[in-house]
Symmetry: C2
Subunit: 636 residues, 2 copies
C-alpha cells in the first residue's frame, strides 16, 4: 500500500489566513481539498472522485466565501444551507468541512468506515444538511428547507447541487414546477454539469437537450457559467441575490475529474475508449501517486508564486488490515454472462438499464444485442413502465438497476405492470447489506418486503454462479409469474459449493452442511458465507448447525421444509434484509401452518435498524451478523 499523506488543518488554516488574492486563495484551497479528497478515497479503497473534483471549486467558493456558515457556525438557524442532491460527490464536501474544522480529523480520515464518514451524505455527520445518494430528491428537499426558513422567520439561503445525469430523474421536474407555483424563491440550484454519468457521456445515455430552455420553460431564472472560474461563479451568485421573484438555477459547466489531468473527462473518456474510468472506485497505487503528485506540485507552485511557504504534509498511519475474504466467484458476472447467452436463444428478450450497465453487468448484452438493449438513463419509473409496455406487446423485459432504487422508487410502476398480468424479470443488483461503504441510500435491505405483497412475484437470490445461471434460466424459460432476481454486487466471500447434481427446484433449498442441533436458512453468497463460518465455529464446540441455502425467498415447498428441518429443534433464518418481510416471515407462516414449530424454537437474525456504513467486516459485526457473532447468538 502506498503511503498516504494529508494536508493538516493547520496548513489549511495558514492558507485561509494568508493575505493573498482572494481568487488565488480559493483555487489553492480547492486544490488542497482535492488532495485530501484523493487521499481519503485512496485510503477507503472506494469513493467517487470524478464528481467530487468537478464540484469542488463550487463547494469551496460556497463555504469559504459565499455562505455565512463560517461566520454564524454550522448549527445556526440563520445559516446558509448547502447540500448535494447527487450525494456521491460527498468526499469533496467532507474535505471542505474538514478544512473548516467541522469534521474532526479521525472521522475525516475514515471515509466509508464505521464511525467515520459515509459513502453518501448522512446527517449524523457534522455539517451534512441532508441525506442523499439516491438521485433526484434534493430540489424538493431544498424547497422544504427554504419554506421552513420563511415560516420560521429564519435567515439564510438554500443552495442545492445536482448532477446533470441526475436531471433524468422525474422528481426534478416535479420540484421545478412546484417551486415556482409555491413561490419558493430562496432556492438556488447549481447543476454540476460535468457531462459524464456513471461511465458514459450524458449525451449518450439520455441527452438533456437544451437544458437552459428546459429550466426557463419551468419558469426558473437561469444562469450559466464556467464552474471552475471563481470570478464567474461569484458574479452569478451575486446576480442571484438580486433575483427575488423566482427560484434560480446555475448551470455550471464543469469537467469531471477536474484537477488531475488524466482524470479529466475530455482526456479520460478517450483513454477509456468512451468509458470514463474515474466515476467511482479508488485509483491504483500508481495512478494515485501520479494524481496526488500532480495536485501537490500545483499547490506548491501556487504557494511559491504567492510568496507563501511550501506545504507540509502529514503522513497518515496505515489502516489496520481488513480481514474481508474475497473469492474469484461473482454472481453478478455469472448473471451478465448468462444473460448474453439466454438473449441469444430468446429473441423476445429485451434488457433495460438505468445508467448502471457496467455495475449491473449488462454491458456485454448492450454490445452484443444493442437493438434489444434499452438505456433509460437515471429514470427508474420510466424504465419500469416502459418494460410494462414492452411486456403488453408480448416481449420479455429484464429490468436492471440497484435493488434500493428499483424496488422502492418504481414500486407503484411495478405494481401497475403486475396488475396487467404480464411477465417481467426484475433484477435487483447490489442487494443486501454488503458492500456497506456507500451507505444507507444504496444498501438494499427492504426489497424483499417491497415485492412481498405482490401476489404474482417470485423472489430468488442465488448463492453462487451456477445457481445464478439456473435462476435466470428458470425466470426466463419456466416461471409463469414475474420474477425478481436478487444479486449481490461484489465478489463472493467464498465459493458456495452446491452438490454436483444440484438443480434449482421450485420452493426447495439445499443443505450445505450437516448438523442435527439447529438449522439455519440463509441466502446469497454474503450471508451463506457467514452462516458457514458460524457452522464451522460451532462444529469446533460440538454443535451441529445445518446450513441450508434457500434461494426462494417467498416460495417454499412444505414437504421439503418438513424434511430439511427434521432432526433440528432450533430454527434460525439469517436475513440479508431487514427483519420484517424477508425470508424469515415467509418461512414462519409455513412453519406455523404446517405445525412444524410445535416443539421447535424460531429466530431471525436480520439487519436491525438502518444499515451501518463501513467495511464488510465492520458492518457485519456491527449488526452481529458475522460468523462469530452468529455462532455466539446461536449458542445463547
Amino acid at each position: 500500500m502506498v503511503q498516504i499523506t494529508l494536508i493538516p488543518p493547520s496548513e489549511l488554516q495558514r492558507v485561509r489566513q494568508a493575505t493573498v488574492d482572494r481568487f488565488a486563495k480559493l483555487a489553492l484551497l480547492a486544490d488542497m481539498c482535492r488532495a485530501n479528497t484523493l487521499a481519503t478515497v485512496k485510503r477507503a479503497g472506494s469513493g467517487h472522485l470524478g464528481s467530487s473534483f468537478s464540484s469542488l471549486d463550487i463547494v469551496t467558493l460556497l463555504y469559504f466565501s459565499e455562505m455565512n456558515v463560517m461566520d454564524l457556525g454550522i448549527d445556526h438557524p440563520d445559516r446558509d444551507i448547502f447540500f448535494s442532491s447527487k450525494g456521491h460527490d460527498v468526499p469533496g464536501l467532507y474535505s471542505v468541512l474538514f478544512a473548516l474544522g467541522i469534521i474532526p480529523r479521525e472521522q475525516f480520515l475514515n471515509l466509508r468506515r464505521l464511525g467515520g464518514t459515509h459513502g453518501h451524505p448522512d446527517v449524523s455527520i457534522a455539517g451534512i444538511e441532508a441525506n442523499s445518494g439516491s438521485l433526484g430528491m434534493g430540489i424538493s428537499k431544498a424547497k422544504g428547507m427554504a419554506l421552513a426558513k420563511r415560516l420560521l422567520g429564519r435567515g439564510g439561503r438554500v443552495f442545492v447541487m445536482t448532477g446533470d445525469g441526475e436531471l433524468q430523474e422525474g422528481q426534478i421536474y416535479e420540484a421545478l414546477q412546484s417551486a415556482v407555483h409555491q413561490g419558493i424563491n430562496n432556492v438556488q440550484v447549481i447543476v454540476d454539469h460535468n457531462k459524464v454519468q456513471s461511465d458514459k457521456p450524458v449525451s449518450e445515455i439520455s441527452d438533456l437537450g437544451d437544458l437552459e430552455a428546459k429550466f426557463r420553460a419551468f419558469g426558473w431564472h437561469v444562469a450559466r457559467c464556467d464552474g471552475h472560474d471563481f470570478r464567474d461563479l461569484e458574479r452569478v451568485l451575486a446576480e442571484f441575490r438580486t433575483v427575488t421573484d423566482k427560484p434560480k438555477v446555475l448551470i455550471a459547466d464543469t469537467i469531471k475529474g477536474r484537477g488531475v489531468s488524466f482524470m479529466e473527462h475530455p482526456f479520460a473518456l478517450k483513454a477509456g475508449k468512451g468509458l470514463y474510468p474515474w466515476h467511482s472506485g479508488a485509483p491504483d497505487d500508481q495512478s494515485f501517486a501520479a494524481g496526488y503528485g500532480e495536485i501537490i506540485a500545483r499547490i506548491q507552485n501556487h504557494l511559491k508564486d504567492l510568496g507563501l511557504a511550501p506545504l507540509k504534509l502529514e503522513e497518515v498511519p496505515p489502516e489496520a488490515k481488513s480481514a474481508s475474504r474475497v473469492s474469484s466467484e461473482s454472481v453478478a458476472n455469472a448473471f451478465g454472462e448468462a444473460l448474453v447467452s439466454i438473449a441469444g436463444q430468446r429473441p423476445d428478450l429485451v434488457v433495460l438499464d438505468a445508467d448502471l450497465a457496467a455495475d449491473c453487468r449488462v454491458r456485454a448484452c448492450e454490445n452484443q444485442y444493442g437493438d434489444r438493449f434499452i438505456e433509460n438513463g437515471i429514470a427508474e419509473q420510466d424504465m419500469v413502465s416502459m418494460a410494462g409496455g414492452l411486456a403488453r406487446q408480448g416481449l420479455l423485459p429484464v429490468v436492471n438497476t440497484f435493488g434500493a432504487f428499483l424496488a422502492a422508487r418504481a414500486n407503484e410502476q411495478i405494481y401497475n405492470n403486475a396488475c396487467e398480468g404480464s411477465k417481467i424479470i426484475y433484477v435487483c443488483h447490489y442487494s443486501g447489506l454488503i458492500p456497506a461503504g456507500p451507505g444507507a441510500s444504496h444498501q438494499s435491505i427492504r426489497d424483499i418486503s417491497l415485492f412481498g405483497a405482490l401476489p404474482n412475484f417470485q423472489v430468488i437470490q442465488p448463492g453462487n454462479a451456477a445457481e445464478t445461471r439456473m435462476a435466470l434460466e428458470y425466470g426466463v424459460n419456466q416461471a409463469a409469474e414475474n420474477c425478481v432476481l436478487r444479486l449481490i454486487i461484489g465478489p463472493s466471500p467464498r465459493l458456495i459449493s452446491l452438490p454436483e447434481d444440484y438443480r434449482l427446484t421450485f420452493g426447495k433449498g439445499v443443505p450445505l452442511t450437516e448438523g442435527r442441533d439447529a438449522v439455519m436458512f440463509a441466502y446469497g453468497p454474503v450471508m451463506l458465507h457467514e452462516a458457514l463460518l458460524a457452522s464451522e465455529l460451532l462444529k469446533e464446540q460440538g454443535f451441529g448447525l445445518r446450513v441450508v441455502n434457500m434461494p426462494w425467498l417467498n416460495r417454499v415447498d412444505d414437504q421439503w421444509l418438513a424434511e430439511v428441518l427434521e432432526p433440528c429443534r432450533a430454527i434460525f433464518v439469517l436475513e440479508d434484509h431487514a427483519p420484517v418481510g424477508g425470508l424469515g416471515d415467509h418461512l414462519l407462516n409455513h412453519l406455523v401452518k404446517q405445525n412444524l414449530l410445535a416443539d421447535r424454537s424460531f429466530e431471525k437474525f436480520a439487519v436491525e435498524g438502518y444499515p451501518a456504513c463501513g467495511t464488510p467486516g465492520q458492518v457485519l459485526r456491527f449488526h452481529r451478523l458475522d460468523g462469530e457473532s452468529l455462532a455466539q447468538r446461536i449458542l445463547q
Copy 2:
C-alpha cells in the same frame, strides 16, 4: 331511483352507417357515447364524468375515424393502440368500445361492479390496452409499446392520452426525455387539457406555465388545437403522420364536463364557488335527468337536422338493491376536524397535499391555516421530499394522499427522510379494499408492507372517529418515531363502539366482544364491522368469537397480547391488506417469540390476489372477507 335508459348498439350502428356529413356523424356519436357514459355512471353511483366528457370527442374521433381498429379488429398485432394514462376518463372510453361492439352490453352496464367494467382501466376488459389510474405512467408505457412494435415489425400507431394535472407527475418528464433520446417517434400524446384537476383549476393547484414551451424544450413536436373540433383534431393528426423524426404531442384544449351545460367547467366552477363539482361521483337524480335530457335533446335535434329518424332508447332494468350498510360515522371527517384543532395548538405543524384536499379532508386546514398548508399538486415524490426538508428544519409535516400513491410511489423518498431521523406523519387515506369501485390502482392493500421494514415507523389504523382523534394526537404530540395513519375514506359501515374510558395505548388493542372459542384481531371500520358480523353470526351458533380492535399494525405489547388471547385456542387475524406484511405477520412473530402459539391455531384472512372491483358487498364476498364468509371460515 330515476329510470335509466341506454342507447342500444343497434341505434349506434344505425348512425354509424348513415350517409351524412362525417363530422356531423362524429359529433352525434360522441354525444350518444356521452349519454351512455352518463347512464352507466349514474347507475354505478360513481365514476368520473368531467374528464370522460372532456376527452370524449377525441376518443370518438380516434376510434370511429382515425385508428385502424375497426378495420383490423381490436386484437390485431398491427392495430393502432389507444389508452388513457390518467385512466379515470375510462367510462367515456367504455361507451366507445360498447358502441363498437367490443364490450358487451351486460358488462358495459355494470360499471364498477364485479364482472362488469372497472372504475379505472384494466386489461381484463376487451379493448383496454393498459392498466392505469395512478397517474404519470402512460407515456413510458406507450414508449414500450411503440418500441415493441418496431422490434416485432408490427404496424400501427400508439396514442396515449394524458390529463393536464397529470403533467405534474415527474415520470412524465422522464418519458418525454427518454422518448426523444431513444428515437421512439411512434408515440402520439394527446393532452386532454381541460384546465381543472380534482376540484380546482390546474392553474391554482400547480400551474403548468408555458406548456408548449415545455414540450418543445424536451424535443417533442408540439401541436395545439380545440379538442372538441373534429376538423381541427383531424388536421393535427394528419400533420402527425408526416412527422416521423420526433414523438408528437397534441395539447387539446378541452372543457371539463363538455356536453352538459352545467357540468362544463367555466359555468360549473362559478356555480361551485371555485370548486368543480363533477370530477368524480354520480349526479343526483335531478341533475342526472337534466344532464341526460340535455344530451338526448341535442342528439334528437341533430338527427332531425340530418334527416334521420329519432333515437329509440332502451330502458335499463334497475339494479338489485345493494345491501351495503352505512353509518354517519367517518374516520376521515374525524381526522380532518382533529387536524384543524391540533394545527391550532401546534404552530410547527405543516400540512401537505397532492391535489386531494377534499378527499383527504384537509381543505378545512387549507382554509384556516393557509400559510402552513402546502399544495404540491400531483407530485407525491416532491411532496414527500419537501416534507423531509421541512422536518430537517424542525417543523412537523403531515403528509396526505391516498395510501396506494403515498406508500408505493414515494417509497424511496420516505426511506430517505426516515434515514435522517426526523419525524413526519404520513396519512394514508383511502386505505384498504373498500371502496372497491375505483379498482386496483386505488385500493391500497400493500401499504403496511411497504412501511413495514422501516425501523422507525409506527403504523396505526383507527377504528372509529374517537380513536382517530387519539391516533392523530398521539402521532403529533407523543410519538418519537414517524407515524403512518391509515384511514378508510368512506363512511363506516357501523359505529364501532369503544369502551367509554378507552384511551389509545401503545401496542394495545381492545376487545369489542367477549368470546372464549376464538379471538379475531381486526382493524379499521370496514373489517371491524365484518368481524363483528361474523361474531354475531357465530354467537347464534353458540360459538364465542372475541373480536379485538387492534389499531397498532406493527407494534404490540406482549403482555397484553398474552392476556387478550388467554382463553382462546384459535387465533384469527382479519387483514384489510394483502396476506403478506400486514398485522398478521407482525403478531405471528410476537406469538412465536412469546411461545403463545404452542397449543393454539393461527390463521390470517386477507385480500388474496389483486383486489377485485365492485360494490363493497360484492368484493368483500368475492374475497371471502364478509361477515358471513368469515363465520364459515372460522367454523371450518
